[in-house]
Amino acid sequence: MMLVELLEALIFPGFLFTIGLGFLFDWLERKVGAHMQGRIGPLVAGPHGLFQPVADFLKLLYKEEIVPSFADVAIYRIAPSLFFLAPILGMLFVPVIGTKAVATFDMDLLFVVFLLAYSAFVVVILSFSSASGYTTVASGRLVLQYVSYEIPLVIATITAAVFSGSLSLAGIVESQSRVWNILYMPFSFIVYIVAMMAELEKPPFDIPSAKTEIVAGWLTEFSGRSLAFLKLTKEVSLVFGGGLAVALFLGGPLGPMPANSVLVPVVYGTYFLLKLLAIVFLVFVLRTALARLKIAQAAELFWKILTPLALAQLALVIVLKGV
């Protein structure tokens, strides 16, 4: 039994599966964006350029790493791994091949929400550790963006928990065996997706890493291995954030089941992947179709529109639940 659990954590649906999905989504993001913009996108490495993200990752791994002389070296070295940890660990709590995830405990939703906040703070620390002009501006933007999206994100998450009457992801998924939460709380879903895009810095919220304004934002001073892992983490975070949305609003891996018991995990996994792909595709289409906002405009959007919307949905759900 121990071996099975270890394999689950390391290979499927744990570590390797998550990273593989991260690479796949990186490729998909480029391909969807390219086709929407009338381009071809990655083409050479693998079929339809499928392995281009892997090739880019490997290339960055053996490139020279330059540490700026003014950087806080200890944090500069450690923070990328701390950042990488968050989505990998978080994915273990997302149910993929059954209502129970690889790691699970009572009230694990709180831990998952903590992980979201944790990764945001690690980025701020990262940004400050390489103290150049651009990263300093980026740090300010990161913090402002964080305090903007975090509140509606948590409210949207809590709405699902309130309706399902459980603070564990397994409980939330099980409660959706008949009807998905999204039907009761469409606005929470919308708020969650927009806040997730802000957390992942997808356009129109790529403000802390806006290329034409502050070079690469908080990524400016990173190179080589660190950069490779930071970029990978951004993609894996999408897997984690999307997986969480699937569990909270789209019934996790649940769906019509065949009688054959051997195939059940495979069918669960397929349902999960299809739902995740739908969310990820939505994010990619949005990111291609929108222009970058200014930080003040993003804050306004979250504080003036999305937070009240999320609160209204929460109130509605509490009333529904009470009746």
Partner: protein, 411 residues
């Protein structure tokens, strides 16, 4: 983060009262700038307090080089001042040279000049609209617009033989004719481009994130524009109907009806509309010119020397008013050629506009003037400490360079 010594000098000259801690360098190498130029942004939080430009990173000494080349050779060299408004530069130069002579330029050549100049304007405006999308973080607009730009580049290639440097204008005429068989193709393509301009106007009006980035950003008032001597689409977007094509017609502009497009708000959104509308008016002008083009020769045979004298001319380049001054001593090479490009005229306006806006507006506002730093860079000597200005010969400049880069040689 900037050199403290430099800032101290600027401070002593009364230019800056801010510490280097608030300084964020924008350039000389920056993803938003396609050419190297340095802008020191002094920020308070994200708000811009002051901008100090350091120009001269792409100075190439073209004006000096012109004094060693023949009149005709210079046509091709000045064309290389800019890769986008290349025809405008050669046109302004040949017009200035023609001003020193008494040649009757063939009518047909003037019409061909107009057609190519307007094709170039369509190209330049499309290129800018795409880049604005890129600067505002809207790469999809960039990719779409630049795909349509290929159409006009193909047209230019069909007419002139080259996509970028047309090499079409020459003193007392043009080098290539536009055959009648090509007319229908040009009309069809320019119609399509005008349709696309309407389509992009629709996008600009409806895409809410783009509206948030461009509306009420870089608001230029008509008086400010006139006081700072802004030119081209920038001043027209502020509501001043100033256009050399209409005010002082050159080439065949006197015969071709042309609307001067203006808007009243002076923000980047109005600029987008002005430039997209000008694509439509340019397309109409091309159609009209093709229809009414007279028959006849396209160039005169002229001697290699130009009569002595001075002449200056101006034309409406895609980016705005472009000045050329030539001075001849009656020989086969010019004594002096001087160009004043629209970017240099618009830069003070752009820097003034930036103040009070945020870091996020810098790429959008700074590049709203469609800067071409390669065209703009000139050389002058000033000492900020003593407020002195002087000029140097090439030899003195060379000595200074050696002293600056190899101090050990002089020790």
């Amino acid at each position: 983060m900037g050199e403290p010594g430099e800032s101290r000098k600027e401070a002593s000259a009364g230019l800056v009262q801010y510490s280097t801690e608030n300084l964020v360098p924008f350039g000389p190498i920056h993803p938003a700038l396609k050419e190297p130029e340095y802008f020191k942004l002094y920020l308070r939080g994200e708000t811009i307090v002051d901008v100090i430009p350091r120009i001269g990173y792409v100075h190439r000494g073209l004006e000096k080089a012109a004094e060693q080349r023949r009149w005709t050779q210079n046509t091709y060299m000045f064309e290389r001042t800019c890769g986008i408004c290349s025809f405008a530069h050669s046109l302004a130069y040949v017009q200035a040279v023609e001003g020193l002579t008494t040649y009757e330029i063939p009518e047909r050549a003037l019409y061909i000049r107009l057609i190519v100049a307007e094709l170039e304007r369509i190209h330049s405006h499309l290129l800018w609209a795409g880049l604005l999308g890129h600067w505002a973080g809207f790469d999809t607009l960039f990719m779409w617009v630049w795909r349509d730009r290929e159409i006009v580049l193909d047209l230019v290639e069909a007419v002139a033989g080259n996509r970028v440097h047309k090499s079409l204008a020459t003193i007392a005429g043009v080098k290539k004719d536009i055959p009648d068989s090509m007319k229908s193709k040009i009309v069809e393509r320019t119609k399509h481009l005008a349709d696309r301009a309407y389509f992009y106007k629709g996008i600009v009006d409806t895409e809410s994130t783009l509206l948030m980035r461009t509306r009420k950003v870089g608001n230029l008032k008509a008086e400010t524009a006139q006081k700072l001597c802004a030119v081209g689409p920038l001043v027209r977007a502020a509501g001043v109907p100033r256009d050399v094509r209409a005010d002082d017609p050159y080439a065949a502009y006197g015969d071709v009806p042309l609307d001067v497009v203006t808007r009243n708000d002076g923000d980047v959104y109005s600029l987008l509309h002005v430039r997209l509308d000008e694509i439509v008016t340019s397309a109409n002008a091309i159609d009209y010119a093709l229809e009414h083009m007279p028959k006849g020769p396209i160039r005169l045979k002229i001697p290699p020397t130009i009569p002595a004298g001075e002449y200056s001319t101006h034309i409406e380049a895609p980016r705005g008013e472009l000045f050329y001054f030539v001075k001849s001593s009656g020989t086969a090479i010019p004594e002096r050629v001087k160009a004043r490009t629209p970017t240099l005229a618009n830069l003070p306006t752009a820097l003034e506009l930036l103040k009070g806006y945020t870091m996020a507006d810098v790429p959008v506002v700074l590049t709203a003037i469609d800067p071409c730093f390669g065209c703009m860079d000139r050389l002058s000597f000033v000492d900020l400490d003593s407020q002195k200005k002087w000029s140097w010969t090439g030899e003195q400049l060379r000595e200074y360079g050696i002293k600056h880069y190899f101090p050990e040689r002089n020790a």
